[in-house]
């Protein structure tokens, strides 16, 4: 699964991340831990970094499957 990052959180990853997710899925919390370990990017564990699955912001209990589009985002700011 390819994971995109938006905002400041992209920096420790240096671009989209690639990670394997089992067919039975993993929670967003688990996915954060996998990414943090693989990329040495502790920042992904911060609660201010939100997860979006298929263009919807989700809670950390949300299950992620290989077919999903998963993105992590730093706090947004327009205007």
């Amino acid at each position: 699964m390819k994971i995109a990052f938006y905002g400041q959180i992209e920096r420790p990853f240096g671009g989209p991340a690639e990670i394997s997710v089992p067919e039975e899925g993993v929670s967003v919390t688990t996915l954060r831990r996998l990414l943090a370990a693989r990329y040495e990017a502790e920042a992904i564990l911060e609660r201010t970094v939100r997860a979006a699955v298929n263009d919807e912001i989700v809670l950390d209990t949300h299950m992620v499957y290989p077919v999903d589009t998963v993105e992590f985002m730093s706090p947004v700011s327009g205007g």
Binding site: G7, Q8, D55, E71, M73, V76, S77, G78, G79
Partner: protein
């Protein structure tokens, strides 16, 4: 542009080139039938950072789908909350120089109070909920800008206040 149940005409747009505010306001005047007040706000790139350093560029990154839908949602909810005739939200993405318009909000209504309040409400929501990520560049290098506690407090006051009709 969407018609919503209140009858207000709503326009929300993501722009990748300079916002021509005079032309945008003229479009709004033509769409807003029978209005008696028009309030507009421009957010503009400042020439210096909060730390007082000169700014070369402000860059707004956006999401390919969620940014436009966030602008549309905020605009629709503003039109539903206040007694207005029409509103327009135009927001830039990409790299901007000092002096360029980042966002234009314009609201036409029967009476001034609703137009002022709706424009204020739209800006407070855009500052905290519009899906953009800002970074500034200058002699200091590059720095990300995240919403402030003040932005969050400004947004939260609308949870308590009554609507302006």
């Amino acid at each position: 542009m969407n018609d919503i149940p209140t009858g207000a005409v709503v326009c929300a747009e993501l722009a990748f080139t300079s916002i021509e505010s005079a032309a945008r306001l003229q479009e709004l005047r033509q769409r807003a039938m029978g209005y008696g007040a028009l309030v507009s706000f421009e957010g503009v790139v400042r020439p210096v950072t909060k730390q007082g350093e000169p700014l070369d560029r402000l860059i707004l990154d956006h999401h390919p789908r969620m940014t436009v839908s966030s602008l549309e949602r905020i605009a629709r909810e503003g039109a539903a909350r206040f007694d207005i005739c029409a509103l327009s939200v135009v927001h830039r993405a990409g790299a901007m120089a000092p002096g360029e318009i980042i966002v234009l909000v314009a609201v036409a209504s029967d009476h001034r109070r609703a137009a002022f309040q709706c424009a204020d409400y739209l800006m407070d929501r855009l500052k905290t909920e519009a899906v953009f990520w800002k970074r500034e560049q200058g002699p200091f290098g590059e720095r990300w800008i995240e919403p402030t506690q003040r932005d969050t407090e400004d947004r939260e006051r609308w949870n308590e206040e009554k609507t302006g009709h």
